[in-house]
Amino acid sequence: MSILLAGAKPLGGKAVDVLIEDGTITGVGAKLAASNRPDERIDCSGLVLLPGFVDLHTHLREPGREDAETVATGSAAAALGGYTAVHAMANTNPVADTAEIVEQVARLGERAGLVDVRPVGAVSKGLAGQELAEIGTMARSAAAVRIFSDDGRCVHDSRLMRRAFEYAKAFGGVIAQHAQDPRLADGSACCHEGEVSGRLGLAGWPAVAEESIVARDVMLAEHTGSRLHVCHVSTGGTVEVIRWAKARGIAVTAEVTPHHLLLTCDLLSSYDPVFKVNPPLRPDSDVQALRAALADGTLDAVATDHAPHAPHDKDHAFGDAAFGMLGLQTALGVVAESMVSTGLLNWAGVADRMSVRPAAIGGLVTHGRPIEPGEPANLTLIDPDGSYTVDADALASKSRNTPFAGRTLPAAVVATFLRGRATVRDGKLVDGIPA
């Protein structure tokens, strides 16, 4: 099976032909079309070719909440969003804290076959924050887990965090922290603490609850000589801490979500829980700081924190509704609007932050690769001049909780290739939306 991508622009550069044969890129150059007879030729004029996106932070809800999302439907949403690999967070039911569960999630991903599903293992048993989960067994399992996280909850006990850092070194693991001091921002905290929370009477989630944990964790990472990844950075203060830590040579990486790059806490005036997310939306000054930090590389990656929820978990008063919003299918458009249209990143920069660096953080060797002969054909073809109007009812996810409904976002995913096989063509799933 061979496919010729005719006249595509790798990383937004000069238009060339790219030949894919049996899952591998075998040729990149001008006029490949003339010398080859591919099984299929795709006219890519005007289109940009990027390495397939890698999401470090996806909630696929299976096992446990298959009414909100399954590995299959989440994989479909990912493919439509231009992703070729996702990291499935551990806060399922049961929690992914044993080899059996992470292997099950990996198998479900293989069966769906739309993206590589890489399970994230829990740091603590049952996400309870008390005892270490079987990190070593998960790392050595068939799922070969590399990222460990109690995401949704913070590993707030300093001693447990220290042990996790030390212990994970033996398996080349990285601890991904959901930074939220539960004493400063407990479960009821749902709105950035500031003018909006005071006016609306919503429980405040202060920036310092994130920043103080990140400050502690970078010091622990330095002390233990281990690796820290900071999930969903939401404040300018956290950016400053990470910038300082990186300058000091501490092994820290960090991600930012698309929604924190575009939306602000002013949206909460509607009390619509579609805007309820953890960490919360922040003021515009934080949004601008996050964009600048993603542009200069202080923040390494865009990660969606795709968090599907059934309607009956959102149809409540703001404080009672579930945290989280969908993100996979809208990530490219949001990044294009917040980073590319603003001139902060070019397409090579987008490839770096949405594919190359997240793949490196997750230890994925076949994703986030250069577009060169001999490399695996995990690729995303996008139309930089296209647009995508978000129709919540048309999303591949089982859930509808997108905060971008009705918005028209720039750029559009045209096709996604997983090991040379098109999972998405013309912006549609090749095999349709899974049941």
Binding site: S197, R199, L202, G204, Y271, A317, D320
Partner: protein, 317 residues
Amino acid sequence: MKHLLSAADVDRDEATAILDTATRMHAIQDREVKKLPPLRGRTIVNLFFEDSTRTRSSFEIAGKWLSADVINVSAKGSSVSKGESLRDTALTVAAMGVDALVVRHNASGAVQRIAGWVSGCSVRAVVNAGDGTHEHPTQALLDAYTLRNRLGDLEGRHVVIVGDITHSRVARSNVLLLHTLGARVTLVAPPTLLPSGVATWTCETSWDLDATLSGKAFGDVDAVMMLRVQRERMSGGYFATEREYAINYGLSPQRLDMLAEHVPVLHPGPMNRGLEISSVAADSPRSVVLDQVQAGVAVRMAVLYRLLAGAEEEVAV
């Protein structure tokens, strides 16, 4: 005005009209037969997700004196834990052919959400009877009514509100409405009980009750409103002890003496005697606590009347 969700929903004319209507409604409290016909055949549901005695009965009496059929629905206990969404609960009640919903909920913004969901139903009006730590607009209206009876026009009047501002829906609605009516407001609380962003509100703030009451900080005082302080705030570290709170922020007899002759003392109730208000203050001639309760019925009659009977009709009293 379609709904009354926030004190910000009423402009000065509307607020004045409600208070004027309430004055006429108030007259019937002295009658032997306390019944007016305008809401005959209308159904009002008091949908209360949170315990309340005074607000619920006040709305109930107000509706009944206007001849509406009033039904109390207690939906206490989080609908989340029952497995029913708030939307389901609201639509179920609305589907019964209700004309108005009077809603209290322990979560901020819940009433606004419900008003959105029932917009396609027979429900013509939704009244916020207190949502979480957000707003309680009819309380602000009855406070304004009480103040107006004591002080006349509120333009330029200085009202001091003391207590747990952070968690007070009464304070939020009062700051909005008193500003609308031209009054000046000073909020007094320890720093732990002043909400974030309060500097952007249309009021002054102070940590010093004595400097405020004496007029040294923000000028002469025309009214003092003491707010209930929940004892559980102590465990949250908002203040040290009840004793210390009473010493620093309680309306003691000494502080009562600092006030000018004309200054009334308000409290939305229920009072913690000995904590935020001394018995001497609570029982003094300055205390208008029971006037507030009376005003509550008249003001809620006025609100229900204006929402359901239409502002254009004159009250036949």
